[in-house]
Amino acid sequence: MNAYDTYNYDVLVIGAGGAGLRAAIEASAHGVTVGLVCKSLLGKAHTVMAEGGIAAAMANVDDRDSWKVHFTDTLRGGQYLNNWRMAELHAKEAPDCVRELESWGALFDRTKDGKILQRNFGGHKYPRLAHVGDRTGLEMIRTLQDHGIHQGVEVHMECTVITLLKDGERIVGAFGYERERGRFKTFQAKAVILATGGVGRAYKITSNSWEYTGDGHSLAYHAGAELIDMEFLQFHPTGMIWPPSVSGILVTEGVRGEGGILLNKNGERFMFNNIPDLYKNQTSDNEEEGWRYIQGDKNAKRPPELLTRDHVARCIVREIKEGRGSPHGGVYLDISWIKKKISNSEEHIRKKLPGMYHMFKKLADIDITKEPMEIGPTTHYMMGGIRVDPDTQMSTMPGLFAAGECGAGLHGANRLGGNSLSDLLVFGKRAGEYAAKFAKEYGDGTIDEKQITDAAKWALEPFERDKGDSPYDIQFALQEMMQQLVGIVRNETEMLRAKEHLGLMSQRAANARVVGNREFNPGWHTALDLFNMLTISEAITMAALERKESRGAHFREDYPDKDPQSGKFNLVIKKDADGKMIIRQEPIPEIREELKQLIEEMK
């Protein structure tokens, strides 16, 4: 065996946010040994930032809701590029997953008759999001963490995986380093689950923390797995924009769910100006009806602020581009206006949105109960990712599974708010279950020492260079470039330029130099993360160039319309035998007849 600390598990889970924790708990419940690797301390993953809620058709608030409505909402939101089977499983299983969370100690806000309360969110026909104030993610990750630590899961905190280990085509482990001392660790495993989250750090304005460098996407890709839907990157419409130090920080969609409205500098509620055909039937065209919806009137249609995120973000960009933006280059999000409608509005806002109240007060000197917030779009969520089997979550590589944001298929061209937390639970659970089954069925694979020594050598090279750029300079250049050239509004000329830049940046990254030693050295970690960021940036750019239409989160100003032909395929990315990134179109799987009918009925 090699010289590094070696651990042996039946199932190794990489990533300890909602999906990773849920997967680890499930695998452990199936009686296998489980190791859980997390890049930060346990409980700090991005799930903690989720604010609004978990989408699950429990029908506690509106009894017309059911998995069927949730299913069709999800497909409509994803512009029908979703994997229908995943959307079906997700809609059917989410309610039980939420109730399970409650049985593990999670506390959600309640209805008058003591059930779990559900709130409105964009693209959901009925109030569907189980929540607790605006800190649902914290409640969820803490519940999973506190439950998980009693399930015999072995946790490796502050540990980053740099390569997956292969035995032929099968994934049999992973190799990485721990931050504290910079020592390498080898993990041998019968099955590996990736749950590493998103890619937001490749962009300048993002709600994502330093961790979200596309590790899982990149690890899987380089191991030979297929990625899908990489052109679909969600820009959340409401991120903070002022002061500059907070730009990108998420402002929950829950603000709009509780009645918040979007205004341009003229005080005009611009969302009424452009309601897409797909949603005309269910969106109100006047303020009065919109407010009645917020108040729970079942006969009212929802206000246009609660349209899907892709659409809202684009409307905001339009207002700014056409000169109707706010002083710092955003628009206004106003919840304080509800004082015209209810008498105790200030107390109500503080109770429903305590985190937002606190955050704006502390970081921006804004009292959201009294004045509007300035907001703008922020890079938030990757719909694309590792292509998985919808039932088992196994990737195209045997023994490699993926769940949560780094897996793909459920959300299609655009994710509905609230559907990520339920995604984590439903598919985290499935990944855990099927990885455990896989581990039981197949024995240990063989670890190839050469893969380990190669990876270790690669990881230490930056220390040997005496010239070369700082990894931070390269990262900032990449973030600036991706934001400018492959952002919310895209065109061919700019993206071809982005491709050239990426080539040059890859060369710079390959020569990046780090200072200091291996002990807790963020410069070194950034140098290694760059490799993943560049890989996924290339994949995003390649897919965005290939999709010559505008759909969901992907908007091309040179192809501003939806193209019916392009709605029939997903884009699949893979590394070919020469190490080159290749892309191909693949027809969307034929949907089951009864579900097809369901979609027609709900149109």
Partner: protein, 250 residues
């Protein structure tokens, strides 16, 4: 733009010294912004923990001018710039490097606390019914982001280092959240007295003062737990009843 001078502790458990960095300060900046800028510009290997940068995750705990704080919520405009700003790691935990300390003890403590144990479901479909008021009562404790600033400032840990006998304010908050959970039926009072060391807390409220989530740790969590322990072990009437009952059960 105004400038600020930072003195940041650089080093590890063996040796450390303050290094000086000077930086331009822009509008709205927080201490964490400054630290990350220094890291990117002058000291790529400066060790610091952070994640959400919005006060939600509790990673960037440190001591700024001697006061334990989340660096992401500490505005530069609230600090006097005429003197150097001192940034140090949390003092109560072993130093790993620069601003990063070994907080693993905290995670070990939590494992020993009896986990959530719900009463049987209220409804036939396996779900429970709860009133919003009962939820509201424990929300405060569940807001905790595990930044460990309360642990850092607690003198039982910081000065007396009784980590093996005392779990610290964070975990009293955790236990309060469990004990007052509307569904929980576990009894943790004996552990509180015997292994968790609740008696060591002499309610100086240092923890409450530093909590970035504004949890009233001492008054709302620790004191009620102390009362529960006192009820079980020291209430003479109850003790008599307990004796009587245990005899009868024999």
């Amino acid at each position: 733009m105004p400038t600020a001078t930072f003195e940041i502790l650089r080093g590890d458990a063996n040796e450390g010294k303050f290094e000086t960095y000077t930086l331009e300060i822009s509008e709205g900046m927080v201490v964490l912004d400054a630290i990350l800028l220094i890291q990117a510009k002058y000291a790529n290997d400066l060790a610091v923990r952070w994640n959400c940068k919005a006060g939600h995750c509790g990673s960037c705990s440190a001591e700024v001018n001697g006061v334990p704080k989340l660096m992401c919520m500490c505005r530069m405009s609230d600090i006097k710039l005429d003197k150097p700003i001192l940034v140090q790691p949390m003092k109560a935990f072993p130093l790993i490097k620069d601003l990063v300390t070994d907080v693993s003890w905290n995670f070990e403590v939590k494992k020993k606390i009896k986990k959530f144990k719900p009463r049987p479901p209220d409804a036939a479909d396996g779900t429970w019914r709860m009133a919003q008021e009962d939820i509201d009562r424990v929300q405060e404790f569940r807001k905790c982001i595990e930044c460990f600033l309360c642990q850092d400032v607690c003198h039982v840990i910081r000065e007396h280092q009784l980590q093996d006998k005392f779990i610290g304010p964070r975990y009293f908050v955790h236990i309060a959240g469990l004990e007052m959970h509307p569904l929980d039926v576990e009894d943790r009072r004996e552990d509180l007295k015997k292994t968790d060391g609740i008696g060591f807390c002499n309610i100086t409220k240092c923890c409450t003062n530093v909590c970035p989530q504004e949890i009233t740790i001492t008054d709302n969590a620790i004191i009620p737990l102390k009362e529960r322990v006192a009820d079980k072990f020291y209430d003479p009437v109850k003790r008599l009843f307990a004796k009587f009952r245990s005899k009868k059960e024999q």
